[in-house]
């Protein structure tokens, strides 16, 4: 797909697209930052969920061991 064909932006190629009419820095940092933050709020909780479950598991293991060793 060399160009995006649509009502407003005819005959635009990728280089032009990334250049954003000279506002590449502004547009892409804004979009990029937003994307990063959104990703953060998906990845971190998922990671944490696994860790929490793991910790609870360890806690249970510790408790059962204590129960078994105690008279």
């Amino acid at each position: 797909m060399g160009s995006c064909i649509s009502n407003g932006r005819i005959n635009m190629n990728w280089a032009e697209f990334f250049n954003m009419g000279g506002y590449a820095f502004e547009v892409w940092t804004s979009w990029g930052l937003t994307l990063l933050v959104l990703l953060w709020f998906v990845i971190i909780p998922k990671h944490r969920n696994a860790r929490i479950k793991h910790e609870i598991k360890r806690q249970i293991a510790r408790e059962t061991r204590l129960e078994n060793t105690a008279p």
Partner: protein, 257 residues
């Protein structure tokens, strides 16, 4: 059964189900991915129309494409706060456990949205106003909102006992809700560099449909993102809060609930 009664029964059962951490955990397992999916589709569509389809602005050129992230994110920063305050009030009045969890878990997400609104706004400000930052009413009140989010988190973490911490944070979020109308009306009350009301203006949006459509997609998509991220965080908090209970222990051992 008349429709009113059945709606009421449905609402009250949902309320009671979501009010219980265990039921929440069970139900959210199915709801969360739906939110995620809706978010992905809507925002992908929004991004496509916003970046590829919408024509450049005759004044700002392509810089206006920041709008499609700035505006939804700025709206969300206010919306999340309102949700927090409402949930906090529900928790305080009806002593509903899960409402506090909503308040606490929304705070970092809301803070992130606020920080993004500030960042994207100041990045956009450089080409438009010639400076990253001015001490203007809209901008400063948004900054205050960020501090308010921080304050709520600080209060939550300052208390040792969870019940106290939850209630204190909820109370503060209820008290702080006055900031929302201030931010919203700041552009009308004070002369401001910032754009006035454009979308929900009297007499319809002052924006061409080619801009309005992607904006709407992005805005609704971000709403679903909030639901998605909120549920993910809430599931963790519920696990931590209820870690002593039987069902969480069973869950950790790999059983399903």
């Amino acid at each position: 059964m008349n429709p009113f009664t059945s709606i009421w029964t449905f609402l009250s059962t949902t309320y009671h189900r979501l009010g219980s951490p265990r039921e929440f955990y069970r139900i959210s397992r199915y709801v969360t991915p739906v939110f995620g999916f809706l978010f992905l589709t809507l925002s992908a569509l929004g991004a496509y129309f916003g970046l590829f389809v919408a024509p450049a602005d005759y004044q700002q050129g392509d810089a206006f494409r920041i709008l499609f992230v700035h505006v939804p994110v700025a709206w969300m920063s206010l919306f999340v706060y309102v949700v927090m305050a409402v949930a906090g009030a529900i928790g305080l009045i009806w002593r509903m456990k899960m409402a506090f969890v909503v308040t606490i878990c929304s705070a970092p997400i809301g803070a992130a949205f606020t920080a993004l609104a500030l960042l994207t706004g100041s990045i956009w400000g450089k080409p438009i106003w010639g400076t990253y930052w001015v001490w203007d009413a809209r901008l400063t009140s948004e900054l205050i909102l960020l501090f308010l989010y921080f304050g709520i988190m600080a209060v939550y973490y300052a208390f040792e006992e969870r019940k106290t911490a939850e209630k204190a944070a909820a109370l503060l979020s209820v008290v702080g809700v006055v900031i929302v109308p201030i931010i919203h009306y700041s552009v009308e009350w004070w002369s401001s560099l910032h754009q006035g009301v454009t979308v929900f203006a009297e007499g319809g949006p002052k924006m061409p449909p080619s801009m309005l459509l992607p904006l709407a997609f992005m805005a609704v998509g971000f709403m679903f993102f909030y639901g998605y991220a909120l549920f993910l965080t809430m599931r963790n908090r519920v696990l931590i809060n209820e870690r002593k209970s039987k069902w969480v222990r069973a869950l950790a051992m790999g059983e399903s609930i």
